[in-house]
């Protein structure tokens, strides 16, 4: 079963290998300075973003799951929300807000600065991706025993000391898994890097795709190698991780005390930058359009967004459920056996997240049209969902692995002793225990699928619109009122779905 999942996830890689096989210039391109600069650009940006997002996400997760912070649920939702922003629209909103002469300068008189290049991309991508760390770490922290923390507290350690000496080591696997996702997201991101003009592999794939397709293909393969190496490296790092922990009955609550103002200030600053300011830009543009200044088809008829909102939500929910179902056997396999098969399948699933949607989509076109059986699915919803699962399965796998590892083996043993069958044990014991982790993973897939653009454009049935394609269509023509209105609907729909399907049920965020 695990091997079968692996084969499915190898579809894009196989496509890249086949397409590159006839590429005489492959080695020449890969080992030239032409590839070296964008490769270095990608690696530096991805590592730096992973570090910053890792720090922000971990701190946020601890605050909302382990402290007496007021209104923790609200903070949890607010902190997770930047995930719903498509990176191209977020990058544009940041440019409009912070650039010289931008909205911040106009509204508050804060002098603007040029949002572009490496630092611009680092800031924008960190603010967009820290939830990839926050969600799994929060889920992990809720599963961990608090006895150690309690002892540390009794020994008079400050919250910061408790965090550093007790919480951090325990949460390390989840933090690493989250950082890996951030790294891969940045490696595969088109939207922000192209707009902010950073020289990366994706930017090279993008600008060469028609002019010199061989360069694009070679860069794509290089990118896949980077992703596979990262996945392998992370697995090695987390090998020594703590496993088999018992979930505690009552999570300990750390009193923030004199640290409370600092914590609140930090959260306010983070939420303002990552969410409030970009959302305010969208509201400003949308309101201007609805007030009659400019705007296009969407501001003329906002109800036309209902259809795309519903189809976006349905397709994304299905993709999230399918993704979790597909990666769960892999997570089990990896928890029970530490062999090469598990490692290889993990790497295949994980690397899918770094591949640009364009590559995933073209690979599915290749495989679907090359097979007499699969051709029936060409340009249908199931193929689109397959693309989402290939692209975002990694998001579910990370959380699923952490969740599976959190199920105490002795409970399973006890159930076996009582004569429970394997399936029964999984449904009765494992699933309820894993629910927060699995739901967090499903939530990540859901949010990513809702904003997915490149594969949706190429693979959806003709005439099938999602909110992301609507946003993109309007942004293409610089009709910002329309793009903003659709983006706001995406923001609201994603928040409602995350709350209703993930947070309320899973309790992943307190």
């Amino acid at each position: 079963m695990t091997a079968a999942v692996g084969v499915i996830f190898l579809a894009p890689l196989g496509y890249l290998l086949i397409r590159n096989a006839g590429n005489d210039r492959l080695l020449e391109i890969v080992f030239s300075a032409r590839a070296g600069t964008p490769l270095a650009g990608t690696l530096v940006l991805a590592v730096a973003t992973a570090v910053i997002a890792g720090a922000l996400g971990t701190a946020g997760a601890w605050l909302i799951s382990r402290t007496d912070l007021p209104a923790r649920r609200m903070w949890g939702l607010l902190l997770a929300l930047p995930l719903v922003m498509p990176s191209f629209i977020a990058a544009f909103a940041f440019i409009a807000a912070f650039s010289p002469g931008g909205l911040m300068e106009e509204a508050l008189g804060v002098p603007g600065f040029s949002v572009s290049g490496f630092w611009g991309a680092l800031a924008v991508l960190s603010l967009l991706t820290y939830p990839y760390v926050l969600l799994p770490v929060a889920a992990r922290l809720r599963q961990l025993p608090s006895s150690l923390e309690e002892s540390a507290r009794l020994l008079g350690k400050s919250p910061v000391q408790v965090f550093r000496q007790v919480v951090l080591p325990q949460a390390t696997p989840a933090i690493l898994a989250g950082c890996l996702l951030v790294f891969l997201y940045v490696v595969g991101d088109f939207g922000a890097v192209v707009l902010l003009r950073v020289e990366t592999l994706t930017e090279g794939i993008f600008s060469n795709r028609l002019i010199d397709p061989e360069v694009s293909l070679a860069f794509s393969l290089l990118l896949a190698v980077v992703a596979l190496s990262a996945a392998g490296g992370e697995r090695r790092l987390s090998r020594s991780s703590v496993r088999d922990q018992v979930r505690d009955v009552s999570p300990v609550v750390v009193k923030l005390g004199k640290w409370l103002p600092a914590a609140l200030a930090g959260l306010v600053a983070l939420v303002s930058l990552a969410l409030v300011i970009p959302a305010a830009v969208l509201v400003y543009w949308a309101a201007r359009g609805l007030g009659g200044e400019g705007g296009g088809r969407i501001t003329d008829d906002p109800a036309s967004l209902v259809g795309p909102a519903v189809s976006t939500s349905l397709v994304s929910i299905v993709a999230a459920v399918v993704a979790v179902a597909v990666v769960l056997p892999v997570a089990y396999y990896m928890a029970r056996k530490r062999d090469r098969l598990g490692g290889a399948v993990n790497a295949a699933v994980v690397s899918g997240f770094a591949l640009p949607g364009l590559v995933v989509a073209l690979s599915l076109v290749f495989w679907a049209l090359g097979s007499e059986v699969l051709v029936v699915f060409y340009q249908t919803i199931p193929l689109l969902i397959t693309a989402y699962v290939l692209n975002f399965g990694a998001l579910a796998l990370g959380s699923a692995r952490v969740a599976v590892a959190g199920v105490p083996a002795r409970l399973d043993d006890a159930a076996r002793a009582l004569g429970g069958s394997r399936l029964r044990r999984i449904i009765r014991i494992d699933l309820p225990l894993m629910a927060p982790g699995l739901l967090a993973g499903a939530g990540l897939v859901l949010l990513s699928a809702m904003k997915e653009l490149p594969a949706t454009l190429l693979l959806a049935p003709p005439g099938f619109s999602t909110l992301a394609t609507k946003i993109w269509g309007a942004a293409q023509e610089a009709i910002w009122a329309d793009a903003s209105l659709a983006a706001l609907v995406l923001l609201v729909a994603s928040s409602l779905l995350t709350w209703a399907l993930v947070l309320r049920r899973g309790g992943a965020l307190g």
Binding site: P100, L195, L369, Q379, I381, P432, E477, A478
Partner: protein, 356 residues
Amino acid sequence: MRTTRTVGIPNFMHKANLTSRRSARLAAAALAVIGIAVIGAACSSDSDDDSITVYSGRSEELVAPLIERFEAQSDVNVDVRYGETADLALLIDEEGDNSPAHVFFAQSPGAVAFLAGKDRLGQLDEETVAPIDQRFVDPDRRWTGVSGRQRVLVYNTDELNEADLPSAVADVVGEDLQGKVAIAPANGSFQDFVTAYRTIEGEDVAATLLDDLGDDNPPTYAKNSAIVDAVARGEVTMGLVNHYYALRALAEDADLPVANHRFSAGDVGGLVIPATASVLADAEGNTAATEFIDFLLGEEAQTYFAEETFEYPLRDGVAPSGELPPLSELQPPTYEFGTLADLQTTARLISESGLE
């Protein structure tokens, strides 16, 4: 604060039941959606002459109203896939003979050259392209121009007077304007301009202009609209873009301090780039596809492009929107719009100039 529950077997079982019921419901919903999709796909896959698929690199915002009008007046049903022109060209190439597309409606001739080079495009009827200004029709009729956009210098009216702006694009470099003219080197329209410049003025002249531009270290942006926004904010004072972004920005907010400056008639800087329509090789002679392209080139659609999208209509006798001079007055430079080899040379020159 969350209420705490003691962990015990009954509690587990309660939760487990809930979870499995919930999963069952979700699984049923998933199966239903997939089922509907498969049935839908099966029903729609048998195509007839009265239904065509259009891959459109032009956005839904601009094109959908036109397509609705076409569907209302004809018996043809149009399925549209919107996407980026370059991505759709790659898709058509990857699909090969199995492509469901009949018509490719592209942003610019560059991507069309890519497909023509791979023999993916059919030939248009002579009568179809007859009413169009023949400077914007492929001699082999692999594509026809549908509407045109002109390259201009957009500038901030608070900062600059039009009288002080250069009359030739070759003068946007040099001490006075150093670092002040924004460009979008990765943008298709900029690349089309460079290709035209090379073809008309020669490789060396083009390379010199690009090198000079590169030495000036100009502010660069990802696309035209980003430049127009930056000029409107005053972040830069001017930029090389397509003409209609400023017109559209002004339609959204009439107070914006932006305006277009046209280079003098005949200057390569004032190139007019057509959006194009083609039929795919397998759809050559398909009556519904031909009918659709005839509609795009007809008076109604051409007037729509003039008035709604502020582009230049390419059909003889249809006038552009109020503020714009007629195409005949512009004397835009003409050249044989790109082949793929041209694009590669252009990309090399741009990258050698350090403009990235």
